[in-house]
Amino acid sequence: MKRYVASRVAWLLVALFGVSVITFGLGVLAPGDPAEIVVERRLNQPPPRDLVDAERRNLGLDRSLPVQYLNWLSNAARGDLGRSWLKSIEVSDALRQRIPRTAVLAFTAAAFSIVIGVPVGVLAATRRNALADHVCRIGALLGASLPSYFLAYVLIFVFAVRLNAVPAFGFGSPAHLVLPAVTLALGPAAVLTRLTRSAVLDVLDEDYVRTAKAKGVRQRTVLYRHVLRNAAIPLLTVSGLSLGHLLGGSLIVEWVFAWPGMGDLAIGAIHDRDYPLIQGFVLFSALVYVVVNFAIDLAYGWLDARTRGAG
């Protein structure tokens, strides 16, 4: 176990280093001269050379790349991610304002994906090869095949425009959360359905289950007690992947639904070519992803040790 933890910590350090280098590299590769862009947007005129040079010194762009990297890193560690080129706002402030909204959306979507995915998977498994199974599996397949933006518009059309049941877009009440969270949830839900189905099928195949059923123990009890144990490890892995999907998928979903979270900010920054914001967003998402996966790895190792010991 100790060795395992040590290897995971080593991975964490490598990943953090990689994230910082890649994010910094994005800024370096970005087209345009940051100093010129900043001064020009401040003056709304083509900037004179001396001001640009002064700004370049101000931004530390006259130093060598490794020094720039270290400066950037030390600033980032203190929470200073620079200033948006376009929006006269600190990147960290912009992120701070929007992160809670994305978090709300992501957690709700995660909850929905479980609420949708698991029961459907169970249904499919318990009615294996019957019509219900096929319908559920097709549903899962559709959930994984339909592009989120297409699905979003279909849902908007049906539920917001025709039925007027929920608001089509925006932010402000729990009702506003429904459509974006459902759209975001369907991809992970499809994966969960599949996973749950196979986990349940595995359990149903086991001898002691058949014995128990023959004895008359309710299928449901057996299911829940053993499925959980069987499915815990793959579920954990999938949640790590789902986080990646949620972070990425939230970009499109937030944009389509005008949900003012981090993803919406990032898309705006991409369209505006506002690189400090893009960098900040990439850094933050990657950090969350790395840290959560690290935690999942540790949990995985702990679970694995337990099941190995117990099994």
């Binding site: 490598v14 990689g18 998928g249 499109i252 990657a286 099941t307």
Partner: protein, 312 residues
């Protein structure tokens, strides 16, 4: 790399048997896999011959805006009076073609990097795998978006963004394959006979590694199409009037409330293409090893580990 090994269906002296047979057998029996195959073939035909089958010039602006389907315009026209059917046919090459090209590229890059890492071992291996770790540490769409955003909007930019994130998972898989193949009897035999490392690599190791990776790439095409059309939907692809499917969907949004078909038709095209590749991919995956296949998760998505089966 238990899962993929099992899929290799090891035969004599541990040399992998070809995968074609179990796949074809599966396709013959499973309905959903056959549906997938039909769809895939249909779309491949569209990619190959689409432009020549199109009845109209996809850029031809006419006065018949938002026309309902007719003989002349089987899927109607869009906001600028352009024939939607022709645009779909031309766009197949762009959307699907880019996805296939990207799949080929990541396979190639993954093969090169993975083989190098697996075969050379040591420092080279450690270094390359750390790079792979670093790339996989960032959520895919986020990094693809950032990379594509570095360039002027174009399909090349989108593909660059995609390839940047996708190659790493493949490199890892290939490395695992190569590591397991390295110690196989047939490789040792070749070594004993005096074949050079390069020869062994080129003649024995690489060919055996190719087919599983190609299979994995096929499983991924659906995902690739989704990511590509997602990025073009956000405006990072070629600018209008390019008839790329994701861009068509984006362009159609302004008519969503009055003429939703302009949004729904490209969306359906994308969905069907992805569905087809997913169905086919599922069939192939099931054919390799039905029980293990359920737990196989895609290499790009997976990153660092395969879900292990509990020892019984």
């Amino acid at each position: 790399m238990a899962t993929v090994e099992a899929g290799l269906d090891l035969g004599h002296a541990g040399a992998p048997r070809p995968l074609a047979r179990p796949i074809l057998r599966k396709l013959a029996s499973d309905l959903t896999a056959r549906i997938g195959l039909v769809l895939v073939v249909l779309f491949l035909v569209m990619v190959a011959a689409g432009p020549s089958l199109a009845p109209h010039d996809p850029r031809q602006v006419t006065v018949e805006r938002l026309a309902t389907p007719s003989l002349d315009h089987p899927l109607g026209t869009d906001g600028l009076g352009r024939d939607v059917f022709s645009r779909l046919l031309h766009g197949a090459r762009l959307t699907l073609g880019t996805a296939l090209l990207a799949a080929a590229l990541v396979t190639a890059i993954g093969l090169v990097v993975g083989t190098l890492a697996g075969y050379a071992g040591g420092v080279v291996d450690a270094l390359l795998m750390r790079v792979v770790d670093m790339v996989l540490a960032i959520p895919g769409l986020v990094l693809a978006l950032a990379v594509a955003g570095l360039f002027e909007p174009s399909l090349v930019a989108v593909m660059l963004g995609l390839v940047t994130i996708w190659w790493a998972g493949y490199a890892r898989v290939v490395r695992g394959l190569v590591l397991s193949l390295r110690s196989r009897p047939f490789v040792e035999a070749a070594h004993a006979v005096g074949a050079s490392r390069w020869r062994i690599l080129a003649r024995h190791v690489l060919p055996s590694a190719v087919s599983p990776v190609v299979v994995l790439a096929t499983l991924d095409v659906g995902q690739l199409i989704l990511v590509i059309s997602g990025l073009t939907f956000l405006g990072l692809g070629a600018p209008p009037p390019t008839p790329e499917w994701g861009a068509m969907l984006n362009d159609g949004r302004v008519y969503f409330l009055s003429d939703p078909q302009v949004v729904l038709i490209p969306g359906l095209a994308i969905s069907l293409a992805v569905l087809g590749f997913n169905l086919l991919g599922d069939g192939i995956r099931d054919a390799l090893d039905p029980r293990l296949a359920r737990l196989v998760v895609r290499p790009r998505a997976l990153g660092r580990r395969w879900p292990r089966r509990r020892a019984r």
